[in-house]
Symmetry: C2
Subunit: 309 residues, 2 copies
């Protein structure tokens, strides 16, 4: 009760935006870490040195932690500052992916490369590819449309797109394709779930007989799973987005089957655990596609070669 300025919600709940420095400040911090000087970082970002100084200072005040050791001949990160900078880098990287994706979403007539992609690929893979493409060919303007396989095929065939990406079992008619990667559906649980401690693989029938958290019928993921199990997947709940499914699994509601792409980050952070399965064909190809005979050239070729390495 010593604090009076708290009327809504319990404890520290509330928008995180007021507790996290804005992107400009985080970017500035990364520049300071890299260049070893406030003024240098300021120059790189096109602001003046006092602006940088004040911004770092207000960030330290906001966080309640000293981030940089200033000296008359440069600035170095404190130990806490190094850790904060690492966490900040993840935010900025996510922002870069957002940026390059959002730029591609904007309909521009001058696009030199028009891409059509399935939702999953557009969401998880494409931003990384576009960043790599921008690094190689900085002035390639890209436009992006996301949709299901049929929509991708339609855009390609009506010459509204130069290159497409689809995931799934079959290639739409009229298109040539190249496999660029493999995706697997994997069984995931919260780290606390009994399956998380298994050492032996799960048998197919065990998976089929256990109620799972699933996407609604008709979703791509659900189709592949049902096909692999023979139409038997038993729902514990059905949810309408991959995000909702992930949240339910993390909260311990039960196991789910999701694309490796969708849960890669959660697995890396150990928020989810993957359970080995045997005897079920849960692999599917990710393919680049283009109209039959029209081999990608120019920017499309550049992007294609990036996706395959």
């Amino acid at each position: 009760m010593s604090n009076a300025d708290e009327q809504t919600g319990p404890a520290v709940t509330g928008s995180v935006a007021h507790r996290v420095p804005d992107l400009g400040a985080l970017e500035l911090l990364l520049a300071v870490a890299r260049l070893g000087s406030l003024g240098g970082a300021a120059r790189e970002l096109g602001i003046t040195q006092p602006a940088a100084s004040s911004r770092i200072r207000s960030m330290e005040r906001q966080l309640g932690v000293a981030l940089v050791d200033r000296s008359p001949r440069g600035s170095r990160l404190t130990d806490a500052g190094a850790l904060v900078t690492d966490w900040a880098r993840r935010i900025v990287e996510a922002a870069e992916a957002f940026d390059v994706g959002a730029q591609a979403l904007r309909d521009r007539r001058d696009s030199r490369l028009r891409v059509a992609a399935s939702m999953t690929i557009a969401e998880y893979l494409l931003p990384g590819w576009l960043l790599a493409l921008r690094a190689q060919r900085p002035d390639t303007a890209v436009s992006l449309h996301a949709g299901n396989s049929a929509a991708v095929a339609e855009r390609l065939l009506s010459d509204e797109a130069d290159l497409g990406f689809v995931e799934g079992l079959s290639v739409p008619a009229g298109l040539d394709s190249a496999v660029i990667a493999h995706d697997r559906l994997i069984v995931v649980t919260a780290p606390g779930h009994a399956w998380a401690r298994r050492r032996r693989s799960l048998a197919a029938e065990e998976l089929a007989s256990t109620p799972l958290i699933l996407r609604e019928k008709g979703s791509g993921t659900r189709q592949v799973l049902d096909a692999a199990l023979g139409g038997l997947a038993r729902p514990l709940i059905e949810l309408s987005s991959t995000t909702a499914v992930k949240a339910a699994v993390v909260s311990g509601a039960g196991p789910a089957v999701l694309s490796e792409l969708a849960v890669g980050e959660e697995l890396a952070m150990r928020r989810l655990v993957s359970v080995p399965v045997e005897g079920v064909a849960l692999a599917r190809d990710l393919r680049a596609v283009w109209p039959t005979g029209h081999r990608p050239t120019g920017p499309a070729r550049d992007l294609l070669s990036l996706t395959r390495g």
Copy 2:
């Protein structure tokens, strides 16, 4: 030459912060997506409806994309809006991890749980654990210090910390421990590297005879690698941070050996590719540690149980 406001750098280079909506706007967008109404989202975030309306509108103007379909009885995301929202969610999640980590870094005397952790664990794993802990026990104040194994041990033994986390081959004297996860060093290359296409495992001597991008001698990762290879690791370059090593590998400079934790996200996004190796012991345990005899209780026990699931 049609643009006059361009004096430094080529093309669209420059701080991403001006091209990406700020965290508050992204959080608002997520709330709109979840609640299906601008006003509802505004209420949840504690602002007025016109503020939300104006903010979404200016975000749409900034991105040049319509995000929300407004109707007199609610708002739904457009297709592009759904994609943008997915990308935005990654930024906000990174910001939440930043927030919970930064709060723990602040030295607070009233902390009910004092944690000491190695850098790698503090950077990659701890924010997730702290978020889970906050979800379970919202009013547990946590403080965090990061350092090497010896520093962690010292803080525990001098009763400046209640629970520690270390990675490495041995447990410091005077501490009890529990293995909470396993980490492996893995060989990674850019997707374009020759090794990325290998199907057969790499032999130990092949790894030892190839120049690698390495952390400097004395780093934990380097020690484990040298031990596993018998002190033979041959440097192509030596860099002083994991981040720098990753950047070098992504840019195609050569292969490196890094902790699975450090590259998990890059692998998921296919920015890096892992190369299987055989005959080399690159595994190490991640351990929770505490002073011998003093089994963790209270908040420390809560956190410990989260880390093991």
